[in-house]
């Protein structure tokens, strides 16, 4: 392995040298419990994929299997098509940044970054040059001789990033890397990581429970629940077209209303809301006439109106809270469901008159079958 040639940083002219990562039907067992239950993911070269889910959903376990710290009960992990399951962690060439950064506290910043290079048998000025270059990249050129405990959280994270990148890994894994940072710094670091990842063209997997983080950093998101991937799609698709109730509830805020399919035609279902209106919606496969359904609508896809109509239902307006440039209305329907409605604040009409709720023009509600 040549230290100077492999660099993808030095020559941004070349195409990004990302690797594909395939997770095939992977299961992990802790005792009797299945922590990961038959997960399959095909990740493109240079892509950032976020594993998003509540704690205990198996996302960190999945990451640890890819890194080689945990052995799977079944399934395969491939990098560029070659299985890496038989390799111990130190032969996988996978970079990982831990939530607590796991910097070696007894080594200086430079020694930390040099650690992986030395472990690979490199010595002398090559290592020094490379350490300097990667510390420059993460804007810590002046911090070579500091100890990790003398750095702030953000700086420690940059060191951890430089340390992981210095060995030019084939895949970069980030385990809740921004969770320990305060809000402002978090956004800066997210931008920085994204920028680095783009320049290096590095296939990256990010584990997070923060949906905003997943939305802003990832190209695709795998929403996980109870060891399963519920949906693996782009952030926009996940937000606009959640495929399961779990995804629907986990991502963003949503309103759920009860209804019943009254007729079906060419994939369009007419749904009678329990709240008292009739809506034409695109129907998912496997829904029959008369089936009870849940209609999920994002708060910003509802509007208030003063005009009654077949597709408007009556509401009792509640509180209105200004949040930033938006106004959040709370309302209650005739069947007792409480709704959240978000509108731009410039709406001038008085709320007292607007006692009907209807779908906004661009609304894309989702139908889910409901068990009664």
């Amino acid at each position: 392995m040549q230290l100077t040639q492999q660099s993808t940083m030095a020559a941004p002219a070349g195409p990004p040298a990302g690797r594909t990562l395939d997770v095939e039907d992977l299961s992990v067992r802790y005792g009797q419990a299945l922590a990961v239950d038959g997960v399959t993911l095909a990740i493109e070269p240079g892509e950032v994929v976020a594993l998003l889910g509540p704690s205990g959903c198996g996302k960190t376990t999945l990451l640890r299997v890819i890194a080689g710290f945990v052995r799977q009960a079944a399934g395969r992990v491939r990098v560029d098509g070659a299985a890496i399951d038989h390799l111990p962690p130190n032969q996988r060439n996978i970079g990982i940044v831990f939530q607590n950064y796991a910097l070696f506290p007894h080594m200086t910043v430079a020694e930390n970054v040099a650690y992986g290079l030395r472990a690979r048998g490199f010595h002398g000025p090559d290592v020094q040059a490379k350490v300097s270059r990667f510390l420059e990249i993460v804007q810590l050129g002046a911090f070579h001789e500091r100890l990790p405990r003398q750095l702030s959280g953000g700086q420690q994270q940059r060191v951890a990033l430089a340390r992981a990148l210095a060995v030019e890994p084939s895949i970069l894994l980030l385990d809740e890397p921004f969770a320990a940072l305060d809000r402002n710094l978090r956004l800066d670091m997210q931008i920085e990581v994204k920028r680095l990842q783009r320049t290096l063209g590095l296939t990256t997997i990010l584990v997070t429970h923060d949906q905003d983080e997943a939305m802003s950093v990832a190209d695709r998101i795998a929403v996980m629940n109870k060891g399963n991937v519920e949906q693996f799609d782009t952030p926009v698709a996940i937000y606009d077209r959640p495929q399961t109730l779990f995804v629907n509830g986990f991502i963003g805020t949503t309103n759920l209303m009860n209804g019943r399919v009254s007729s079906l035609q060419n994939g369009t279902a007419t749904v009678a809301l329990d709240a008292g209106a009739s809506l034409n919606l695109s129907a998912p496969i496997g829904i029959g006439v008369g089936a009870p359904v849940l209609i999920s609508v994002r708060p910003e896809q509802l509007t208030l109106s003063s005009v009654p109509g077949p597709d408007a239902w009556k509401i009792v307006p509640g509180l209105a809270l200004p949040i930033g440039a938006q106004l959040v209305h709370e309302a209650r329907t005739a069947d007792g469901t409480s709704l959240k409605i978000i509108e731009p604040r410039r709406t001038v009409m008085s709320d007292a008159a607007r006692t009907y709720c209807t779908l906004a023009a661009d609304a894309r509600p989702t139908l889910f079958p409901r068990s009664t």
């Binding site: 890194a67 962690p89 130190n90 032969q91 060439n93 796991a102 007894h106 992986g116 472990a119 060995v167």
Partner: protein, 253 residues
């Protein structure tokens, strides 16, 4: 008191003077005893570390249930009196003891080894007797180490050995040094084990003190020997703890 008594010439403690110091420091036999005692400490420390450090590593990798069993086994020697433990070692190491019988039956040796009243036997038994003193501080420091550090090291391409010597050992130094100090101080002064297993042929400073004070009743000389023991142990201990502090301050609570 001890210092005062040491500056008397006669065993009745009537004539002040440096006579006992001169007698002790002028005798080459004294130096041999000092060196023997310190070497006994060093050998015991080496043996406990060689056996104890891998044990601590095993403990760290064990499942929580196994850890409970192990910690019980580790602490158990502390619950028994030193006298009991020492006599148990006489049974084990004696001419017809467990070790000799086993080795003879396996055909490894043709006649019993002399283990009692030798330094080897003494180091073996002290190693077991002092083991908890090494393991307890070592394990308490090591179990506070962040497990991610070992994973991080492996992910960066380091082998198990490299991780052990570059990450685990340096970071466990404070516990290791504390354990070594305890083992050293307590094995150099372990009068009971030294006399019962070492016998009277192996003379260490504690035995000398006992002889002079309770057999010969030369208290000033005994005081001189005690002070020598105190000073030599303190010297080694402070040197070690200085080294420990230099390599130590990196572990976060």
């Amino acid at each position: 008191m001890l210092v005062g008594v040491s500056f008397f010439n006669d065993d009745k403690i009537t004539q002040p003077g440096f006579g006992q110091w001169a007698k002790f420091l002028g005798d080459p036999f004294s130096y041999k005893v000092i060196v023997d005692t310190m070497m006994l400490g060093v050998k015991t420390v080496c043996a406990t570390v060689l056996i104890g450090y891998p044990l601590a590593l095993v403990y760290l990798d064990a499942s929580p249930r196994l850890q409970k069993v192990l910690i019980f086994i580790i602490v158990m020697p502390l619950l028994l009196s030193v006298v009991v433990r020492t006599f148990a070692w006489i049974v084990v190491l004696g001419r017809e003891g467990v070790v000799n019988t086993l080795l003879m039956q396996l055909g490894i040796i043709s006649e019993p080894l002399r283990l009692l009243q030798t330094e080897l036997g003494l180091v073996i038994s002290l190693t077991q007797i002092e083991m908890p003193l090494l393991l307890l501080p070592l394990i308490s420091v090591m179990s506070r180490l962040d497990g991610n550090l070992r994973d991080a090291s492996a992910a960066l391409g380091a082998s198990r050995w490299r991780t052990l010597f570059k990450v685990t050992v340096p970071l466990s130094m404070p516990g290791l040094v504390a354990g070594c100090l305890l083992v050293f101080a307590s094995s150099t002064t372990a009068f009971i084990s030294q006399t019962v297993i070492g016998g009277v042929r192996l003379i260490y400073l504690p035995l000398l003190i006992w002889q002079q004070s309770l057999v010969v009743f030369n208290w000033p000389f005994a005081a001189v020997v005690s002070l020598t023991l105190l000073v030599s142990v303190l010297t080694v201990v402070s040197a070690l703890s200085y080294l420990g502090r230099r390599s130590g301050g990196y572990v976060h609570g």
